[in-house]
Symmetry: C2
Subunit: 384 residues, 2 copies
């Protein structure tokens, strides 16, 4: 039987009778089966795998050969974990759905860093996306995560909103963890930057260039999907620590230059993607007369450059734009931006986690690393 399932070269084919029969009969092998086949006790099989010194070398070889012969793939990780408390996997916990995680250059860079650390080469890495539904209490939900249910020996947690209940659960479970960027929790190991200061620098750059009518593009202040102009109330109630810190930097730097909150035109994109960024940039440019824009991410800033072209605005003659992150695309786009070491954050987070998991520090000691950031001048900003 061959059934077309679409109009390209695609088909459903039936396997041979033989192979499907074979798989139906076989049962899942356990240490008990190996023990039986080798004529030893089940714990002896366990020792053959995990305690080479505990049994004689000949016995050990006999057991392992028997295991190979009958097709036993080695100790089941679940049984092992349940008893020993260790899984052999670490987790990365993030707010967004899986579908967005890999569109976010920061997330990719973080993953790269964890990989480059070389500390978890033998370890599986599990991605735990949290849903961002709001609970009745107004706080984000998503407490129902496998991450706190024994599926990871340690966690790297990144950009969760303030007050997310999962953090408490992780702490209660005593799962070793390191937070990257947000939220900032007292007495937790943490890797990040000074978002407030970096944002001040970003805003000050435009102010120093003489800009006074400035727009602000912010990714997201709260995972409720809201978009549009940001009221002072919404700003103050923001749960996304990272973005709210940056926004605070903009607002205070502007205030120092005599520009009030309402004079800043602050627009929230409601998401991290290019699409959301472009929509917000469109609203901003469409409704406000501005000469400069600061964005809380390069993705937003690059979306803004694209929209500016649609408005026939020349960059930087008609509009100056400053980004945040310095992702690879920022270079070719000539974007002036704040550089932060995203890959290195991953490396250090992995190192911290490794140290904590290895019990190198008393439980009360927390590791903290704050990276420096730099303003990178390119061609998207100029004197007004």
């Amino acid at each position: 039987m061959v059934t077309k399932i679409d109009n390209q070269k695609s088909s459903i084919a039936t396997a041979t009778e033989k192979s499907s029969k074979r798989t139906t009969i076989r049962k899942k092998l356990s240490m008990k089966d190996v023990a039986e086949a080798a004529g030893v006790s089940q714990p002896t099989v366990s020792f053959a795998y995990n305690r080479p010194g505990r049994i004689s070398e000949s016995q050990r070889r006999h057991v392992l050969e028997t295991a190979e012969r009958i097709g036993y793939p080695g100790p089941n990780a679940l049984g092992k974990s349940l008893r020993s408390g260790k899984v052999g996997a670490i987790g990365l916990m993030m707010m967004d759905r899986l579908s967005l995680a890999f569109d976010d250059p920061s997330m990719i860079a973080l993953l790269k860093g964890i990989g480059h650390s070389g500390l978890f080469e033998e370890t599986a890495l599990t991605l735990f996306p949290l849903n961002h539904l709001l609970t009745a209490s107004g706080l984000p939900g998503g407490t129902d995560s496998l991450a706190v249910r024994g599926l990871a020996d340690g966690l790297i947690i990144t950009t969760l909103p303030n007050g997310h209940p999962i953090i408490t659960q992780v702490q209660e479970r005593e799962i070793p963890f390191v937070i990257v960027d947000a939220p900032k929790i007292p007495n937790s190991s943490f890797v990040g930057i000074d978002d407030y200061e970096a944002a001040r620098t970003q805003m000050r750059h435009l102010l120093d260039l003489g800009h006074r009518r400035i727009g602000v593009l912010v990714d997201r202040l709260n995972p409720d999907g809201q978009t549009g102009p940001v009221s002072r109330q919404r700003f103050e109630a923001a749960t996304e620590a990272l973005m709210s810190e940056r926004l605070r930097g903009y607002v205070e730097a502007a205030a120092d230059a005599g520009i009030s909150y309402n004079d800043l035109k602050i627009y929230e994109a409601g998401g991290l993607g290019t699409t959301a960024g472009q929509a917000a940039a469109f609203s901003l440019l469409n409704s406000e007369k501005i000469t400069g824009i600061v964005a809380t991410s390069d993705v937003m800033a690059l979306g803004c450059l694209r929209v500016a072209r649609d408005f026939s605005l020349n960059i930087p003659q008609d509009l100056s734009v400053v980004g945040f992150d310095d992702i690879p695309e920022a270079v070719s786009a000539g974007l002036t931006t704040i550089q932060q070491p995203m890959v290195e954050k991953g490396v250090i987070a992995a190192q911290f986690l490794r140290q904590i998991m290895d019990g190198k520090h008393p439980s009360g000691v927390k590791l903290v690393k704050i990276f420096q950031t730099h303003l990178i001048l390119r061609s998207s900003t100029r004197h007004i």
Copy 2:
């Protein structure tokens, strides 16, 4: 106590006495503890979570409230899995170490696709890197993977070398799986392209433009780390199915034009990274008089463009280069290349896996999707 751990703003700080004491005393909570606190049996607690209809609504609420009150985070995934056989996670199994996976644009695109499918939003996604050590038998090792030990309910397997023993183990364990790109295994669900035909097209393009002295840059034919010119013997013994298929396409297309194997200058980079690619391009350009290069990936091709600049070669006047993949950077680099739908591969792989895991197909039925590829003409190739 505050100890500097480096010369930036980094420190180790001690948590409050109170919090460290609290955590030392508390024990890990299980259903037994909830049952005790709620005055019900342990299975009743289980039913409260998993079988809402099995107990009365008031009982259920009482149990869940008690659980929340004492800080129980919900059923432990390990105990649950051990009994039920389901984990709640799918796995992505790949050959390379974690450190390389996120440097590979194809891998990122595949992950994006899995995410974009929207089918595993509630599921954890575990990355299982396999080590690429060779065993005594000359076959790649890395059989000691958690992937076959119960840590994933289903697997997406990508670009493993032919004959990798883990595939047999996955089949023996009857873990649902879909293979992306390689290896091609009889009767397995598969998502890929026709690598042989795509490579023929790539080579034919240079031939049609009049090139006769052609170099070939191949990522890796065998995970043994070897680099340099590729003998016919090594070509024929290649275990990396993807690359060997492409190479076969080059060799046969060249033969059709009267160019022998030895007239082609074939260089193996030994890895997937930019560094390996640049080194191979350097050797190739340094030792051979050629007018055109085909590469088995855009990463190789882009590395080649960079090296060509160091040799003061103008592209395409002095050298034509054709890539493979059409990664985002290929666009800005003006690279002529073979386009393949990498994100879509991930989407379809996820769909296939979901269907297989849901038992929508009898076990003998395999799903297959072969995507079409296209030659994209840009500015890196021209008539000789």
